[in-house]
Symmetry: C2
Subunit: 382 residues, 2 copies
């Protein structure tokens, strides 16, 4: 347990509370803060206009793309730097060459990050959104989705791990089905990246959007989008910033970059980028990604088992978990949440179906899960 103590010492926020909501935001590690503070200090002393400033910034971005590529199993030129998962979901969803009457498919397990861009595309381009009901049997999602595909279907947008139930969707099978019908696949990786191993090439998806502040424990305001070399030209630019173009002429227009970087937008905060890189380094070089994945998984299994024994609790999360465990209580969920918060046990509620949800970060302990189960015992029953 030496390693765990060392890790916990670097994330002070987990020491003053039972921090079981990495699914919203992980604790910010001290080395990440230090990297951000160092960037800010350099900005103050050196300014932000010298050519070295841009050279460094460009190198920083390249290193982040390379680290993301390694974690996701792709090439660095298939990575675009974004602000967060929702940013990536928008860039792809709104960039599809929609014609009125075209169709998109999603599921009833999705976050606003997947749904809102679809709603915007519906309002702008007159598309139809079909929602696959996979709540009870997420493992059958590929078959359910295939039944909704028509010749007008252009995009399937699904989570890898549902933020509601914590179910891991069979993304590889969904991608196989989609590609058999010539449909693009966009994955919301907010609850998978940093929590479970993700290899976008093995999954065979076209686009995969991730963020920094959840399972990676990086800063808010940083994320990445994987756009496969094959698919990148099939999606147009919705947001055109200085980094979009390889060249432009006032009259002729812009020539977009030929790779994922065409999705990159304007000026970003270098300190946030520095923190994002520090988080990538911390998780992979210090914590160890495999160690983290394995610990997250075993803690989630432990949480399922502990909660199943609490009277008045029904666990929703299937046996195949990532790091989210959702459950319903006979009592009022908001009242239970409030009581837990009063005991400094931080989890959250999720909608449709309304439930409580905990996250097992690799820095959490078995004792914290027992503490949650014990706290629920007098609260969960009607």
């Amino acid at each position: 347990m030496d390693k765990l103590s060392e890790i916990r010492a670097q994330v002070p926020a987990v020491q003053s509370q039972v921090y079981l909501n990495t699914g919203t935001a992980g604790p910010l590690p001290e080395p990440v803060r230090a990297a951000m503070a160092e960037s800010l200090a350099a900005q103050v002393s050196g300014g932000r206009i010298a050519s070295e400033y841009y050279v460094k910034l460009s190198r920083l971005k390249a290193e982040i793309r390379a680290r993301h590529a390694t974690m996701l199993g792709c090439e660095p030129d298939e990575i675009a730097l974004t602000q967060n998962t929702t940013d990536g979901m928008n860039l792809v969803t709104l960039g599809v060459n929609w014609q009125p009457g075209d169709e998109a498919i999603t599921t009833n397990l999705e976050h606003a990050g997947a749904l809102f861009p679809l709603f915007a595309a519906r309002a702008r381009f007159g598309i139809t959104i079909k929602i696959a009901d996979v709540l009870e049997r997420p493992e059958e999602a590929a078959a359910v989705i295939e039944r909704l595909i028509t010749p007008r279907t252009k995009l399937i947008a699904v989570s890898h791990v549902s933020f509601i139930t914590g179910a891991v969707l069979p993304v590889k099978e969904i991608a196989e089905v989609a590609h058999r019908h010539g449909v693009l696949v966009l994955v919301d990786g907010a609850q998978s990246f940093g929590a479970i191993p993700v290899n976008v090439k093995e999954l065979g998806v076209d686009f995969y959007a991730v963020t920094s502040q959840k399972w990676l424990c990086g800063p808010e305001g940083a994320g990445a989008l994987y756009a496969s070399r094959a698919a990148v030209s099939q999606v147009q630019i919705t947001f055109a910033g200085y980094n979009t173009a390889q060249a432009y002429d006032m009259y002729a227009g812009l020539l977009p970059k030929g790779n994922a970087q065409k999705f990159e937008q304007g000026t970003l905060q270098p300190a946030t980028l520095a923190g994002h890189l520090a988080a990538l380094r911390w998780l992979t070089d210090e914590v160890g990604a495999d160690w983290a994945y394995s610990r997250i998984r075993s803690l989630a299994a432990a949480a399922r088992a502990l909660l199943a024994e609490v009277p008045g609790v029904t666990v929703l999360t299937p046996a195949e978990t990532a790091g989210l465990v959702s459950f319903q209580v006979e009592a009022n969920a908001d009242a239970v949440l409030k009581a837990l918060t009063g005991q400094k046990i931080l989890i959250r509620t999720v909608p449709h179906p309304r439930s409580l949800r905990l996250s097992t970060g690799f820095y959490n302990t078995e004792e914290e899960l027992e503490q949650l189960a014990a706290a629920l015992r007098p609260l969960a029953r009607a």
Copy 2:
């Protein structure tokens, strides 16, 4: 000169170099860094999931909107928080209800932040972009633009201050012309906000996009968009994030907020927001915006006069300036830039027409301008 020394002491980057490129990025003041560092320290110690965290974040955002409203002469609910000027330009330009054959008008004095979104709209929606030639006579821009308006014109997107020549465009007259024809007006305020007084209501524009890192000396990655109450409903959502909706239903879709906040996107970095607020406070409460505007203006006038006397230099910027002064040299502009950089005098080049450009920040000194003029004397001639 006591006040100036005090200000210069708070922006260390101006002490080690002749910092004449605020038009790219201003020097980051120490109080702004301190506010950002404080936010990061609080994130590390307290975590990012407690309800107080969100309450504070929401208050922080409200205070930034209110400060922007005061500086721009509008109501807080007419302000959306963005990442930078280009962000605001995209949100409006791509959100217009374009139909194939519709037209937009811009000028030949524009930055990529105005042009790229128009190019993207052309590629997506089949619109025509008309470019008003106002290079020689920017003061006649309203008349030149009016001649390009047709019944298909839906948007005029122009800079308040050209990043190329530094010309101040007659935005009020342009807005009058536009509204006479039922056309929306979007202004790129990158080189005006913080440099000259801006009152969006007096100007009568519909949208005005600004950024933090230039004349405000705030952090990169923060900006704001003014969207008038009358115009906000005329532009659709292009980027739908968690902050876009006042309510949503998986099947029915989302109900956008009724004000400018519908343009706000997903998770932002709170430290960047804290820095943005600190910069707004620093400029208005410590430096004094009127003092800054007046000093920027008089330094720009001094720069024009000094440069006009340098053999081989032709000043492009009209007498009515903001804080940018552009000029051409008989010698090779890149070689001149390189030589100046070697003397730690930092200015930049701009395209179409290719020129050199300096910025007069309120923290600059008359001596620095003389230093630049003296350095140019042996360089400018062919």
